[in-house]
Symmetry: C2
Subunit: 324 residues, 2 copies
């Protein structure tokens, strides 16, 4: 597979990130370390941490401290996963029991708070107010995005624009912050900072669109969470929005009545998937993801060609071509 070499080339960075994730997560309360390790070490691609490290490197940073600080983003991401799973009543995360199931909602909420605070503490250590501005605006916007998503539960009238607003706030803004803060950390000039900020945003949008597609097409073994999960949680994502726009009146009526049922049977989910597929919603959504990847790539025009830039271009393609 064409991305294997790229992922292999990143293994050294991922290993260093993992080492710091373990090292920095030290609380005097054993349960915090246990739940924290449970959620963070369960897997994940470390994409947000990698984007920070690689952005700093693309901007000329040659040191090793970026790996240490990159855990800011993994802790923050894990905090939102813990809270999301409580909010969604999730059963499975990354192929095993979600932390809220394993340790209870109480521990999941509180350890999420701990990880969010830890993320801030680490960012404060850097001592750069601009980075803290980006980070605090990001977490504020992420919380808004989560609430927006909650408000739109089972809202079949949600528009593509409103959907984009949700995924920008809940997902893309953190990708953007990782890249932007990496650029600041790498002492990039303003043009490069803005370029990476925008690259991260477009990459993050494409990432979430693809994630939402995978919820219709993947399987639990590959994806690490049950397929059709978004629908079970009442989340109306892009494939369905397209189907509700492009489908026949009859199909849209059937879709609407199926979706209102919360406990979908396998047969019902298959029927929804068939109705969605009749409108070519999945390739259409994929096309939209690609359009953001094209934007992300052109954001990099301010950088001269280099192996680091090539990596960013390939990473963008990988995000939209990945199968899990």
């Amino acid at each position: 597979m064409k991305y294997e070499a790229m992922l292999r080339s990143l293994k050294g960075d991922v290993d260093q990130i993992d080492r710091h994730i373990r090292g920095n997560l030290s609380s005097r309360v054993p349960l915090i370390n246990e739940v924290g390790n449970y959620i963070i070490l369960a897997g994940g691609k470390r994409l947000r941490s990698l984007l920070f490290v690689l952005s700093a490197r693309l901007c000329g940073y040659l040191g090793q401290l970026s790996h240490y600080y990159s855990t800011i983003f993994e802790y923050l991401h894990s905090a939102t996963l813990l809270h999301d799973d409580v909010v969604d009543g999730a059963d499975i995360r990354r192929g095993k029991a979600a932390a809220n199931i394993e340790y209870g909602n109480q521990a999941a909420v509180l350890v999420g708070d701990f990880l969010l605070s830890k993320s801030f503490s680490q960012a404060v250590e850097i001592g750069d107010i601009r980075m803290l501005e980006v980070l605090s605006n990001t977490t504020t916007m992420m919380a808004e995005g989560e609430v927006l998503e909650l408000v739109h539960i089972l809202n079949l009238a949600i528009t593509q624009e409103e959907y984009l607003q949700v995924i920008i706030s809940k997902t893309a803004i953190l990708f953007s912050a990782s890249c932007h803060m990496g650029a600041i950390f790498g002492r990039a000039d303003n043009a490069r900072q803005q370029a990476l900020k925008s690259y991260g945003l477009n990459l993050g949008i494409a990432f979430q669109v693809v994630d939402d597609n995978l919820d219709y097409t993947s399987n639990v073994a590959e994806f690490g969470k049950p397929v059709g999960n978004d629908l079970k949680e009442g989340k109306i994502t892009l494939p369905l929005i397209i189907a509700m726009k492009d489908g026949t009146t009859e199909d849209k009526t059937e879709l609407a009545s199926l979706i209102k049922k919360r406990d979908l049977t396998e047969t019902e989910f298959t029927r929804i998937r068939d109705l969605v597929n009749k409108t070519d919603a999945l390739p259409k959504a994929h096309q939209i993801a690609w359009s953001y990847i094209e934007k992300a790539k052109s954001d990099l025009d301010v950088f001269p060609d280099s192996p680091e830039k090539t990596l960013f271009l390939n990473l963008a393609s990988y995000v939209v071509e990945r199968k899990k």
Copy 2:
């Protein structure tokens, strides 16, 4: 009542704090404003915000910006209330339905996250890294305190020292941060910063000990939450710790067997209260609260006499003599 004049003299500050609480809490997501206002405007003494404003003033700050920034502490406090109530499955807060009941656990968790982030955003605005250090260490420690409390649920073997560790982390550290950050904001020298940091810590310990006493002695109309609530949630607080230390073997056995029942009847709670009272645990706990208030007062020795200092001395006595 002897504190009425003091509280009246603070009304102007409280009004300004309230105005900024409303003004600063503006999200583009209406549900956030609604839940935020629900929890924050339901009441509360604005003690944490006041401590920030008054500490800055005690250190010579004469401007008005301290009121604007004081909402950092009220937002942070409200965030923890929202998450606590989800964690505790609380029904009532400040005399009305808890936000998790009114809006659901999901909104309570996410709006809590929003308020925590908002608190950081506002602190970042000040642009002082030392203040951000204090704030992020505080929220990290608070999350640890909440988890510690969870770990000690129904732990009848909890020692007085472990109890103090919990209340320092979950409550006193925020009082301390309000005072400490007020001193930094007021450009105090290090001795005064440390004095106010310590004052806030001792005040906060006394505050929580009194709060835990009130849970045995007050009533819902005065206290704004049901009496005996801590026990219902399995929280072993100081009065019970003292009773389990000083009671007769027979009484301790009876206490232990009563406490293991989670759904206490009125009669059972009254019996627990009687057994606790037999050991004079409430006046003993009150005495401990007073000892911290004495420490808090002597922390102020570095300040020359002034009306502002007198206010801090009176505030300390008020915290331990209040009835709600």
